[in-house]
Symmetry: C2
Subunit: 215 residues, 2 copies
């Protein structure tokens, strides 16, 4: 698949690299076509990796990953262009973290709304699937970093888009993909960030993940 990664941070770099390893063609999009981090990432990853603007990356892509910070995601996606997202699966990995009031961060949106819902409303022709936002970047693409059974969640309005994303997640190594429901269920997935952050402080490692133990 041709995949656009929007965002040049650790999450985008990590997912992008993994997708190239799995044989996909990945373009990292950012505000500027000459973004230093995106340029360096594409050079390091090599064949199959390129970089462009947000819209340059999205226009040729079969699937788009939003790996920008939640507080700038809508702006980045507008730059990518609604016409370049229409009809495509838009995997939303973002978290609406607000560090402006110090640590631990709060969320810029929660409870009655979520960043995933805001994105789906702003881009009604995209098939938004929320996933991967509930664990460390390394664990996202290599669940074996955490021993034992543990789980990943998907939320979205389009069942076949969720099924396609679940297949991609299985190619990353995920065994337990839990479908939480429609895009409003992304509130739940985004609202576990505060306990995730506390757990990282308690456990002194980002290499942990939620498992839903059940009968």
């Amino acid at each position: 698949m041709r995949i656009a990664i929007l965002g040049t941070g650790v999450v985008g770099q990590t997912i992008g690299r993994r997708l190239v390893e799995l044989g996909h063609t990945v373009t990292m999009g950012s505000r500027s076509a000459t973004n230093e981090k995106a340029t360096k990432w594409a050079e390091q990853v090599g064949a199959g990796a390129s970089h462009s603007t947000f819209s340059g990356a999205a226009t040729g892509a079969d699937m788009v990953f939003n790996c920008t910070s939640g507080n700038v995601s809508l702006e980045a996606l507008r730059a990518a262009g609604a016409e370049n997202l229409a009809g495509k699966i838009l995997v939303d990995v973002s978290n609406p973290l607000d560090f402006s009031h110090g640590m631990p961060p709060t969320l810029t949106v929660c409870n009655t709304d979520s960043i995933a819902e805001q994105i789906q409303r702003a881009f009604p022709d995209a098939k938004v699937v929320k996933t991967l936002n509930t664990m460390n970047a390394g664990v996202m693409v290599n669940p074996g970093l955490v021993p034992g059974e543990h789980d990943i969640f998907v939320s979205g309005n389009d069942a076949s888009a969720k099924a396609n994303v679940a297949d991609l997640l299985r190619s990353f190594g995920w065994r337990n993909v839990i479908d939480l429901g429609d895009i409003t269920s992304a509130r739940g997935a985004e609202m576990i960030l505060p306990i995730w952050l506390r757990l990282m402080g308690t456990l002194k490692t980002p290499h942990f993940n939620f498992h839903i133990a059940r009968a």
Copy 2:
């Protein structure tokens, strides 16, 4: 121990019964000394169980459990009396669920505050420990209802109060008690309710729980 259970719902009834089984003396407190549910509960549980008003229950207790709904907890605790909570461990099991806008419920407080913090601020002489709010009532007192390893969280400002509560939780059968930090970490524990509610819908059972898989 002499333990007060504030609240007559399923959570209070379930925890109260379990505490009596474990040899504690339990008084269920409610708005009225003649509350029908509390009367019936005390009759059914038998020796070791009694009922009273909020203040009647709290006054003679060594430890107090807040098992009221989060949206009436402060009012119930004021009725119990700050003087009857001072110096005592106050185990807060409540969730600030708001069903007034339909299902799924939202939270009446979250993100920058929590019901546990509100309680600690309102009753600064009580030793508030948030716990047990992240699972079904049956699982709270009988973790074996869910197979495999799974976890319970505690939050609070007083380390020895948390240690005492952890001991009590171990007497319920809990093996993994995770200390999230001070009382502000209760935000995280309360904010996982939305995903818990979605998971109950997806899994079609309340008998599941979070496990933190880790290296």
